[in-house]
Symmetry: C2
Subunit: 454 residues, 2 copies
């Protein structure tokens, strides 16, 4: 019978992270200072991030060594399995060969601990006491609380209010791992209090939670700020996913025609795709397609403007050039999954602008349709975020059925949905609304972009 | 660095189940008919179970071949990892070497699908339309719904009322996999209606839910009944756990001094331990200790009577000789986990009676204490049931610290706790009560045992 799971040994975990910046002819333009809008220096970032992470952020080395202690912790669950979706292929009656990388195998249930462990390692090395961070759907916060305990670090999580109430189990998981969680905006920071004063009933946003976490970090002795996506060093840490998948597909004797992942800030997508995109950038795989999938409820890649924007609502973090729907953007609370950041990783946006990658947006009900079919075929209940990647893979597989092509589709199954079953419940009861962003809402948000020369 | 995970390839999944009955000098006495109390014939079981499972129930063959199609489905997640608990050992400052078999890696999150897949395979082969079953904490119901879909079988689940309300996510998971779930006792069966008439506010019990499921099965064309624990064929199907663990410990160069698992009906415990107990039964490992761990809220092994008793409340299922707190027993609704069956697998009770195994009971708060420590050391949030096994392993590891012995402890981490976070929340808030069974409650329950000659 055809093999379903491709497993690697502990010692086959990659020894180095892959830095795509080294292979980009035109890398993303520099970050700007949030107040002066002038290019940001590493010193400007020093109060916010650990020094080694700032160094990695600006690095153009192609390979960066993974410290032994980080590798040993990653080996708790890595290498993760690569699975052939045999039963799903059969259910879809497609000649496509579909593979998924199962990142839901990590203890916190997603790809997020790949970078959380590394960030906590560098924080500890620097002698920090703890991290403050934001979380939307809760995958990132869970991962950081999980990782922080291995290094004796405290973890303070600002969780977007709507998710805090929709996903109580996520909060309990974070607390079980020793973290402290508050709904954001909170009264714990000036940024939070200012937002609540303007809009006491706000459902919150990642932009607001980032502002609070940065403020908490810079005003508390021994704390720095930890970010779960968007910036280069996070995407770098995620490349173990794609590097493993390359070895595993080699075991399977296949190579992808198309790689697919969902993207909120872009980290799981970059993690899977960047090692493959290396081969497109260097010309050896010119026909490889890289498809980033987002939600119509927060369509930064498909409807945003490619422009400099602040990374957070209170304008305290770096300004980055990216596709954005505006730093003041608040996603509709009916949106069940993550994928709710107003911008997108600058490196991914550069690749999109340069035509090395493509983007697509989906409504959530169409994603749950496919996720339920996937659960019944492959047994796994995935996170709503991951359901967006499944939806795109489904459409590609059906296109193969039409055309008769046996394409190889590789997707990142970035996380399980065990803490998202309230959303599945709504979906199964027909009570989950779709949501499109109104043109006006985007136009209003974009009016607030900074004016940057050039 | 010391290896943490011991992985086997797909093709190393065992080809045969191990049947401990073949190695018992005095196997368990026969089942009795629920009405006549005379020895039960295979024909008596025919309306309830698929024929091949009845054959396996009575078999004394040592090895029973696993059908190819069942193996292929098990390979979706099996072989499961064997993990060395390096960080937990360090946290406990123990010289013991602790290994855990991680059954939470299955899609439904526990060991239960090991038998669910096999049962559905035989049901389909027999041309059945569906299964009715009971579930307590929900792990079994999830596993059967998950497995049923692969064979196009319908699945009707009677879920103990207290769990149905405490664990809504379990219900949603079952529905996502296409199952139908009702709280039990329900008005859907005569047995359920009779119980509700006597006690409309009952929190339910496994004994009641079994009665309802059997009744539903025998009164619906094309349905039979599926049981998730207790009987020989279920325990048989679980032995893949221990057979894999034997190979994996060999890779690690170790052999257990003590094997530990929690036991409600006994299936995960038997699955891990029977292949090791084979070597105690045949005299080659006389010093091996096998420790079955239960809850003080339902202490069949440590406080029950070894006697014939009905397997269900309505007295419609087989009568078995086992340690029992009485078929009318209702566990306190404050009890968070599974481990709530009034009896115990007859084969395990026989081993306990003959001195080949030992049993111990714990209060739930002491189990959660250890489970939270384990989550912070090993990253995994386990089910409350599994927490009982962890508690026993913890006590053994601390005894090693006292004595300075480097014992090898092997435990079954039977399931994850992702759907049990409400219980963790109560525990973390100090709001989870402990519960001891009162002597009177046991005495009353035991008055209702059948009078059987001999």
């Amino acid at each position: 019978m055809t093999q379903q799971r491709f497993l690697l040994h502990e010692h086959e975990l990659p020894t180095h992270w892959y830095n795509i910046i080294a292979d980009m002819t035109n890398p993303p333009p520099p970050y700007l200072h949030p107040a002066t809008l002038q290019p940001l220096s590493p010193e400007d970032l020093a109060p916010i991030f650990p020094a080694e992470l700032i160094r990695q952020e600006g690095s153009s080395e192609r390979w960066i060594e993974i410290p032994d202690e980080v590798r040993h912790l990653l080996q708790m669950w890595r290498p993760t399995p690569l699975c052939r979706a045999l039963r799903w292929e059969k259910a879809l009656d497609t000649p496509a060969r579909i593979y998924y990388k199962w990142e839901g195998a990590s203890p916190p249930g997603s790809h997020k601990p790949n970078t959380a462990v590394a960030q906590c390692y560098y924080a500890r090395k620097e002698g920090l006491r703890g991290f403050a961070t934001e979380t939307g759907a809760g995958q990132w916060g869970s991962a950081l609380c999980f990782a922080a305990q291995f290094f004796g670090l405290e973890c303070r999580v600002f969780m977007v209010t709507s998710s805090y109430h929709q996903k109580p189990y996520r909060r309990v998981a974070m607390e079980t791992w020793g973290g402290s969680v508050v709904p954001s905006p909170s009264s714990m920071t000036q940024a939070g209090r200012a937002i609540l004063a303007r809009d006491p009933e706000t459902s919150g946003s990642l932009g607001m939670a980032i502002s609070e976490a940065i403020e908490y970090a810079v005003t508390h002795e021994g704390f720095k700020y930890s970010l779960g996506s968007v910036v280069n060093f996070v995407l770098l840490h995620q490349t173990v996913i794609g590097l493993e998948a390359q070895k595993q597909l080699e075991m399977a004797g296949d190579y992808p025609d198309i790689v697919i992942a969902c993207a909120g800030g872009g980290s799981n997508a970059a993690g899977l795709m960047f090692p493959f995109l290396k081969e497109k950038l260097n010309g050896s795989r010119p026909n490889l397609r890289a498809l980033f999938v987002e939600s119509t409820a927060c369509p930064s890649m498909t409807r945003g403007l490619y422009a400099y924007d602040w990374g957070d609502t209170a304008k305290t973090g770096p300004v980055a050039k990216m596709r954005t729907v505006g730093h003041g953007f608040v996603p509709a609370p009916v949106h069940a999954g993550g994928l709710r950041y107003h911008g997108m990783a600058p490196s991914i946006c550069t690749l999109l602008e340069q035509g090395f990658a493509e983007a697509r947006a989906y409504q959530q009900n169409g994603c749950f349709d496919v996720a339920v079919g996937f659960a019944r075929a492959e047994g796994l209940i995935v996170a709503p975020e991951t359901a967006h990647a499944l939806r795109a893979a489904y459409d590609e597989a059906l296109a193969c059925r039409e055309s008769g092509e046996s394409k190889v589709i590789l997707l990142n199954a970035s996380g399980h949905g065990h803490f998202d079953l309230a959303a599945y419940d709504s979906y199964l009861q027909g009570a989950l609304p779709d949501h499109d962003l109104e043109e006006d809402q985007i136009r209003r948000a974009l009016l607030e972009l900074p004016t940057v020369a050039g």
